[in-house]
């Protein structure tokens, strides 16, 4: 351990502002990248699923004689 106490750790020998600003921005951006990638994937899957379901419904209403079984399950990310 390079520090004696938590307050010494936070103060960084008077350079706390510089160290924590740099680390803070880095952490925020890395976190932001992950959050964005997850949100992007979820939104995309949602819209693709909606599209496929809509097409299945169209196909089902076209073929009146042979109704297509339509599975409504819980959507899970693959």
């Amino acid at each position: 351990m390079a520090f004696d106490s938590l307050s010494a750790f936070l103060a960084m020998g008077g350079h706390g502002v510089y160290v924590w600003a740099s680390w803070g921005i880095t952490g925020l951006l890395l976190l932001g990248v992950v959050v964005h990638a997850r949100a992007e994937r979820r939104a995309l899957l949602r819209s693709l699923r909606r599209r496929v379901r809509r097409e299945q419904r169209h196909a089902a209403s076209d073929a009146v004689a042979t109704p297509v079984s339509h599975q409504e399950g819980h959507a899970r990310e693959s």
Binding site: M1, F3, I25, L48, V52
Partner: protein, 246 residues
């Protein structure tokens, strides 16, 4: 070999294999970044000249490495796309650009903040700093180009060309500290030569660098998988995949 490359270039195959690889890179990234952060922030000894402000190195150097590596990766991917028309290469290139821009910003920001206690100024128009700023603008250019075309193929070509031309900036960044007199110190860390710092300072830096690289691979795999679904959404295997989970 060619069969392997062809398989790798197939979106469907890439989608499957990347699903298996992805968790390992996320786990490695999380582990390495946590260990490197705790070690670098709390356990590495303070620098005898710079005191504790030197701990900025543990985010500054990995970010600067990634900033440059991602641009080189984009240029290589652009070349592969232009020569062999492998779409996966273009998708990956498109998906890694924002992370590259973010890492360039981190390197510039942490460098500026670090400069205040160390150099007494947060900015100087010297070769290293200026060439890094140019890298940030190159990233913005590549990202903007992709959004500027109605046709995806034109956008991909334009972005690939800009990445391939812009990559000339990378050796300029690397050698700027040797070619010109600059405020920026020469490289303190290299994978190939013996480190100029004691092990207790150097080991956490290596761990952070590896962690950042794992993070880059994990994010790129994840986002490229999304991009495959987006671009190939009319393909049968994608519809079947989507149909299965709905």
């Amino acid at each position: 070999m060619w069969a392997f490359i062809h398989k790798l270039g197939s979106p469907k195959w890439f989608y499957a294999i990347s699903a298996r690889l992805q968790p390992w890179f996320w786990a490695a990234a999380a582990l390495l970044i946590v260990v490197g952060s705790v070690w670098g922030l709390a356990f590495a000894p303070a620098d005898y000249q710079q005191g504790n402000s030197f701990r900025i190195i543990y985010v500054h150097v990995p970010a600067a490495f990634l900033a440059q590596s991602i641009f080189v990766s984009m240029a290589v991917a652009g070349f592969i796309f232009m020569v062999w028309k492998i779409k996966i290469a273009d998708m990956a290139a498109a998906m890694m650009a924002p992370l590259g821009a973010a890492m360039t910003f981190v390197a510039l920001f942490s460098g500026a903040v670090w400069g205040v206690p160390t150099w007494g100024t947060w900015w100087m128009w010297d070769a290293r700093l200026t060439s890094m700023l140019i890298l940030l603008f190159l990233y913005f250019g590549v990202i903007a180009l992709r959004g500027a075309f109605a046709s995806r193929d034109s956008a991909s070509r334009a972005a690939s060309v800009l990445a391939m031309v812009g990559v000339i900036n990378i050796p300029i960044i690397k050698y700027s500290v040797d070619w010109w007199y600059t405020l920026h110190q020469p490289a303190t860390f290299s994978v190939t030569s013996r480190p100029a710092m004691p092990l207790e300072m150097w080991a956490p830096l290596l761990i952070m660098v590896l962690g950042f690289y794992s993070f880059f691979i994990a994010v790129t795999l994840m986002r490229t998988r999304s991009e495959i679904l987006r671009r190939e959404s009319s393909k049968r295997w994608v519809r079947e995949l989507i149909g299965e989970v709905s």
